[in-house]
Assembly symmetry: C2
Homo-oligomer: 213 residues x 2
Amino acid sequence: MPTVSSEELAAAAGVNSAKLRKDFSYLGSYGTRGVGYDVEYLVYQISRELGLTQDWPVVIVGIGNLGAALANYGGFASRGFRVAALIDADPAMAGKPVAGMPVQHTDDLEKIIEDNGVSIGVIATPAGAAQQVCERLVAAGVTSILNFAPTVLSVPDGVDVRKVDLSIELQILAFHEQRKAGEDLAADDVVPPVAAKQPRKGPDGDVPAVMPA
Amino acid sequence: MPTVSSEELAAAAGVNSAKLRKDFSYLGSYGTRGVGYDVEYLVYQISRELGLTQDWPVVIVGIGNLGAALANYGGFASRGFRVAALIDADPAMAGKPVAGMPVQHTDDLEKIIEDNGVSIGVIATPAGAAQQVCERLVAAGVTSILNFAPTVLSVPDGVDVRKVDLSIELQILAFHEQRKAGEDLAADDVVPPVAAKQPRKGPDGDVPAVMPA
DNA sequence: GAATGTGAATTTCTTCACAGCG
DNA sequence: CGCTGTGAAGAAATTCACATTC
């Protein structure tokens, strides 16, 4: 399939074709009127815009089950991420191979970051260790952190943190599940705009902005 | 702290106080004018609305590193989720304890779902097994699926699927990292609305609706 | 003829601002 | 007096619809 129309892409993605065209237009005019978009060229342009064509060395700190799962995760390599090092505080882990790579000790964290020019760190430690690890990463030059530990990290300005809470997705499913069960009540309910939205099939979904801890 | 004002909550969450009050108003009028919101009552009402007060039995299928990490994840219990069973296709895993619970074999999947009244399933299998597991879960009565496998699942109407792609969050960080690096170029760039947004510190962030596989 | 790119129209979301209540 | 709850105003996002290009 050498070319594709906005209509086809929109149908596949479950969005309006005009929105798709407008979004693409912000990246430039890569389509051909009367024909559509050249698939290969479009993929390249989007990949470049998203930074997928760059090589991003990352370190994973905390090689428990989750850290090991991340180290083995195939999706990283295909998106331009290269796991530069696995780091753990447990001396017993040091040297052990995980995902074909020896685990290194936390003592060497700063050197590893600097030697590999790492600017993105992944924290998969227990909650108690996360803030300290975070501070060492930042001090060593990391400016983006992906946090899997169930803690809110505080970082200086200029450092980005994204927190992944594995239970939030479950909570969203449970929320809709609850609605399914109480569907007959929905009619006489004062249905709030956000809550009333039925989940769609596509890769989307609404997360409330505010949620209790 | 027995009560809290919308102003305080808004500051803590990094949002506008009017938005917060309007959002709360959809749940009902739980505040007191001149005083604020009763913290305990508010937490209860929000929890109930989100379904956190219910008990949701879930099964985890695929007990590799990721499945084991999920089984051990403390965040589930506190949000009303109860891991009812761990299921794996490897006969060597059967009976082995993970997170204080014996792994069960896939053969018994249907019986486990029915006996426990499970409506939410978590798939942490390799990509190749995911669709088949999904179909068995659905046939056995599961109506919500959280998919960690790197595959798009197809399901019948009425079944919700949410896909967790661990690399997407990294990709978002890399996207902003790229912008940081090329900041001086930003000026003469035709900056698209979405892409131009700087990441904020709060628990938010924008994921493009359309992204190449 | 077919499909893009984009102003204009429309819809949705957010914020303002203030009446009303405790 | 302080703070909620909410109409009205304003801003942003989405969709329409069509001139334009291949």
